[in-house]
Amino acid sequence: MKEDKYLEMNFSGKFPDLEMDRRKFLRTAGGGIFILFTLWDASLFAQEGRGRRGNLPTDFNAFLRIGEDGRVSCYTGKIEMGQGIITSLAQMLADELDVSLDSVDMVMGDTDLCPWDMGTFGSMSTRFFGPPLRAAGAEGRRVLLELAAEQLKIDVQDLNTANGVVSSKKDEKMRVSYAELAKGKKIERHLTEEVKVKSPEEFKVVSKPVTRRDALEKVSGKAKYAGDIQLPGMLHAKLLRPPQHAARLAEADTSAAEQVEGAQVFRDGDLVAVLHKYPDVAEIALAKIKAKYDLAASDLDDKNIFDHLVKVAPSGEAVAQGGDLQVGESEASILVEATYLDGYKSHAPIEPHTATASIEGDKVTVWPSSQTPFSAKREVAEALGIPQDNVRIISPFVGGGFGGKTRNLQVVEAARLAKLSGKPVQVAWNRKEEFFYDSFRPAAVITIKSGTDDKGNIRFWDYHVYFAGERGSQQFYSIPNHRTMTHGSGWGSAPGTHPFATGAWRAPGNNTNTFARESQMDMMAAKAGMDPLEFRLQNLTDAKMKNVLTTAAEKFGWKAAKAPSGMGRGIACGTDAGTSVATIAEVEVNKTTGEVKVKRVVCAQDMGLVINPEGATIQMEGCITMGLGYALREDIRFKGNDILDANFDTYSIPRFSWLPKIETVIIDNKNADPQGGGEPAIITMGAVIANAIFDAVGARLFQQPMTPERVKEALAKG
């Protein structure tokens, strides 16, 4: 589970010191049957061996309730940001409890109603939450059966459950509904031991496609996001921002801003803000503030950053090694040595960071766009110097996160301003602030030296990654002599590493690592004169990976040929969040302009048991589409401490006209545990396009994004 080290990013040492007060919790939740359970696989954290166990809540951190009206409610700190768990988690419960999907309610991300949760990221929701959730459902069903057995005086084994009713197997008329069983009860069960969950053959709802449960609200404009929360007397805040990173506010003359009718200016240390009933007027008033800053000099820019990174990188840490590199090198007749570069990328969700905060008495309530409501709660409590118990975070729908909304700067800003002004306050970043304060996917460098014998068997692999992070760095080919070294992690790097904040970006680290590894594989295949698919299969023993590769190849109609074949097709594979993925792309390269058009993408994925195939397919399509961006265009440009991209005019994200035909295959693997699905299909997009470009025109790209200029440069090199 080492690949999930990135979970550390914002969380180390920050687990809650308060344990959920069970009594308070159950009191507010009303009557019924309660199943309390713990969402994570405790062994995951034990394995990590970071001595954190002591800090983790030892109690449950999710629960489900069968209410006196027979409805099933699941209370979880997870949030819905488009990944569809509002549907897939409910499906699991419906199946285990034998109720219709309509009678399952999801109560999500409300820190007063839901027990503590680490956050929604890392493809974890279904992976770690799924098994205990299903077990809790099964346990709920067991309680209902016991209660019914007592009431109907029939043995449990002679009872059936269907559609929210327990009935006798022999006499359909002997029946009692869940609502009747839960009526007037307050039963509390803790899920401790193993409970038998349903086998895949018994699923009625899980693994059947269903459309999103939140679709109606979202197509009718009723779905509420953080900026849609409107409270009586609420003011909109616009904050004074520095012109560049590392700048310090020296002085600010706010007198002209104060003259704007209805505008109030608040200042607290470095925080200077204008509050107004209307956000647009607050913005106009803010522009009237005259501020002076002390600027810091920096020579870094988006071109020299790579040399800088290698220079400041710590000496490496081996994450995997085996055999003897020197022996391997001596056995290799074909050598490939290359350096791969990747620039900073923005998360760029269409909804910028937003939070609405209100203080009543000593209780603070915030509605934020956040992937980590419980961290937000702690951060607000710390900023205001109040107990965490006095802070409630209510999670509205989140308009895309991709890892970027694990940081809660705007939440703290809104809470501080609500306190300063004594009014409800909304902070909604504009697009420029979003690009400025984003925790970018880190720029990174990877160097690889590898070689094969004359039959194309890889003999050695020496891999160094600087700052992309560990996830996806371990290769899975069968190579006798190998070493994988990470120099610096993907986030939380020492000061002086990156000129601005960096953080987890959808499948953190893996996009960069897979780009490098799979490009290197292709170069070795080409030098060995082998078809790139055949080369991979020959060097793999991992059956799951071979299977996704051949499945994708079959779907694509792959015909063996060595690259460059002129056909413009590329192949790449990888693993992420326990899922294996293989992608094949077909591209067209305009040699004059350097434009690359991706025409077709075929992607096969083995993600274990799939809870909602429709949802999983959509996630794969989303990954492939988003992946076109980092592969072809997305790159944060900066000079010194200035971020040069402030909006979508210069930072281009994928558009309709970029879209290839997308075909996805999900391997039927019902008996394996569910694995992550929100990220894997994005990791191969860089490599598959690089390899397809090579196959099309014989030019090799070593840097993401593969912009027209870089394609032309590579063509010129031949």
Partner: protein, 158 residues
């Protein structure tokens, strides 16, 4: 300038005493409490704020409220008729043409305006018409399918 501005909003008349230079997006979202129209970029690049002004798709982050004087503004909230969703809304649901849903109102409004002008589009025409509406979740191909399906369903009757 503070003055009276009247226009029709989702079928009903509105009369505002307002600084008429203020942007329609914010007037709708704050003064009028219609939050279905979203802010995404504020500079006409993303289309999240798209709505209809006299049946044309307009980016409300670029339009002053005085510019809609006497006109008919329709937002995502006003698209359903007597509780019946617009065919484009239905098709978005049916084709799962959304993930986080934040770009969705703008996508739907842009598609509605486009289909009024071109009720029987080819998919290439749909792609061209939608190209300046951004979606970060990658719902694009499904959005195109949904618009195609809505067009078929309506048989030219938008």
């Amino acid at each position: 300038m503070i003055e009276n501005v009247k226009f029709k909003l989702n079928g009903k008349s509105v009369a505002l005493r307002i600084d008429s230079d203020r942007l329609l997006l914010w007037v709708l979202r704050t003064d009028l409490g219609l939050t279905g129209t979203k802010y995404g970029c504020g500079e006409s690049y993303c289309g999240a704020c798209t709505l209809l002004v006299d049946n044309e798709a307009v980016r409300s982050c670029q339009v002053a409220v005085k510019d809609v004087r006497g006109k008919h503004v329709v937002t995502i909230e006003g698209l359903a008729k007597n509780g019946d969703l617009h065919p484009v809304q239905k098709a978005f649901m049916e084709y799962d043409a959304l993930q986080c849903g934040y770009c969705t109102p703008g996508m739907i409004m842009n598609a509605v305006a486009f289909l009024r002008k071109n009720p029987r589009p080819t998919s290439a025409q749909i792609i061209a018409a939608m190209d300046d509406n951004l979606c970060r979740c990658g719902a694009h191909n499904r959005i195109v399918q949904a618009i195609e399906a809505a067009a078929k369903e309506a048989k030219g009757g938008f």
